[in-house]
């Protein structure tokens, strides 16, 4: 675990030297600001529920953009050879990169706290759902980032990694969404696998352990598989 901070720091340097971090943050702020303003104008309510609920789709697209280069670029450019011949474990590398991407994701969310300040200024928002929403966003983020990271481990082409990550997350998003309101044996299964329903309760001020377990276990699973993929180099 000792090298996790070192790997993390290197990824942060790389993020902020490249335009990708700024582009992702800018895109997110434009969309979330738009939703915030539109929804505020429509509902005239001092609440973040709807505008944060809407961000899930954008985050499904932006999270893989954050993670796409993490492992694929190492392989493509050959720097993996330098990295892995240093005394680091595969887990340290993968986990350090995961934390860096998660951190950038949280940095991206941070400016939306200004909306909370703004709401407090214009009205009296219910602070409970806001807090739970942010907890949910963080958990969801760790899952999205881990899915993106896994895709990045699977290919050495970062564009492929990004696109497959986005497709996977969007399918997971719609898996629950598309069947909501219908019936059948598959509905419960799809709703459980899908990201949509797990997120919804957070926006209502609930932190349900089932949802927390869902996000954390998928995160752990993706990181585990990514480590195995990096490791697989050793038995090929």
């Amino acid at each position: 675990m000792n090298n996790v901070p070192t790997v993390f720091k290197r990824e942060m340097i790389s993020y902020f030297y490249s335009p990708i971090a700024y582009i992702v943050i800018a895109v997110f702020l434009v969309f979330s600001g738009y939703f915030f303003a539109r929804i505020l104008a429509l509902t005239q309510q001092a609440t973040l529920t709807y505008s944060l609920a809407n961000t899930q789709f954008i985050l499904s697209i932006l999270a893989p953009v954050i993670t796409m280069k993490l492992l694929s670029e190492e392989v493509r450019s050959g720097t993996i050879e330098m990295l892995m011949t240093a005394p680091v474990t595969d887990f340290e590398v993968v986990f350090g990169k995961f934390l860096a991407a998660l951190f950038l994701y949280l940095v991206m969310l941070a400016p939306t706290l200004l909306y909370v300040v703004f709401l407090n200024w214009v009205g009296k928002p219910d602070i409970g759902p806001i807090i739970s929403s942010y907890i949910g966003l963080a958990l969801m983020g760790s899952m999205f980032v881990s899915v993106g990271l896994l895709m990045s481990a699977l290919t050495k082409n970062q564009v492929v990694a990004g696109v497959t990550g986005i497709v996977t997350l969007v399918i997971l998003f719609f898996a629950g969404y598309a069947v909501s309101g219908t019936e059948g044996w598959y509905v419960a299964a799809l709703q459980y696998i899908g990201t949509y329903d797990h997120w919804e309760s957070f926006t209502k001020g609930l932190v349900d352990t089932r949802d927390v377990v869902y996000y954390i276990s998928i995160t752990a699973l993706c990181i585990f598989i990514a480590v195995r993929i990096v490791e697989s180099r050793k038995w090929r």
């Binding site: 340097i13 050959g78 050879e81 892995m84 011949t85 240093a86 005394p87 038995w235």
Partner: protein, 339 residues
Amino acid sequence: MIKVDHLTKRYGDKTAVDDISFEVQEGEILGMLGPNGAGKTTTMRILTCFTPATSGSATVAGCDVFADSLRVRRQIGYLPESVPLYLDMRVNEYLLFRAQLKRVPRKEIYPRIEQCLEKCGIVEVKNQIIGTLSKGYRQRVGLADTLIHDPKILILDEPTIGLDPNQIRQVRQLIKELGQRHTILLSTHILPEVEMICGRVIIINRGKIVANDTPSNLVARLRGGATVSLEAKGPSEVIERALREIPGVIRVTGGNKGQVNQFLVESDKGKDAREDIFKTFARNDWILLEMKRDVMTLEEIFHQITTQEAEEAYREEVSQRPAGGVKERLSGILGRLKR
């Protein structure tokens, strides 16, 4: 320090490294010489725990490269062939990252970085982004990185490739200096380099070791006798006859070249004809302008060994190839498909 034992590496049905064994003693500089695709990089990647061997074993500083990989990696500094660096980082940021990754004690990190920057001559570019550096400077950054944790063993894959002649000299000098404190395994195509800096050479070809000796022994073993080239003034035919009569001389070639005569005198294995040649000239009062012994260079030896091997392998391959060319086989397959 490094012990390689019956190491084999296959990629699919292609054998990159074929049952090789060698050792590198502490403090030794061992050069690995071989044509493209010989298996040098593959061997080094196995030793640095980057790729696993198909069979056989290798130990570095007493630790097995597969079972004890972290400990092995702590002891080595590895410079990969293509010198892959993070192009988006600055030189000193990169070295800081590498030093932390290789667990250099916190207090020593900055002095070590300064030291390595200086040793590799990159102090003036330390704040530059690596992506903007020239190939030679990147090479030096890579070299600085291999030294940053003061490892016992250096594994350098073609360390002077892509450098200009001045830099090549500097890097060779540096490697020689490093050889006093480190055990070094390096690979190269450049023969004079091996002669200059290595205490011992392994010539590797098609995954097999074909020679393992000191550079001077290799030369001596492959060509016992020597060729002496002469430049002289005097009656060319008479001189030639006199030279032939010297005991041990096998062949004399050459003759009158305008103002002077040039001869090539080949003598028996283990026989140095120079003394007799000199005496013959002195006795006859001929004028000897130049006398030089041509020793077979490592280059020629390398060429001889590797092409011999290649020819043999080619002949083997041809004799084993099934009758009929690609065309016949293809039409055979097509015929079967039609049926």
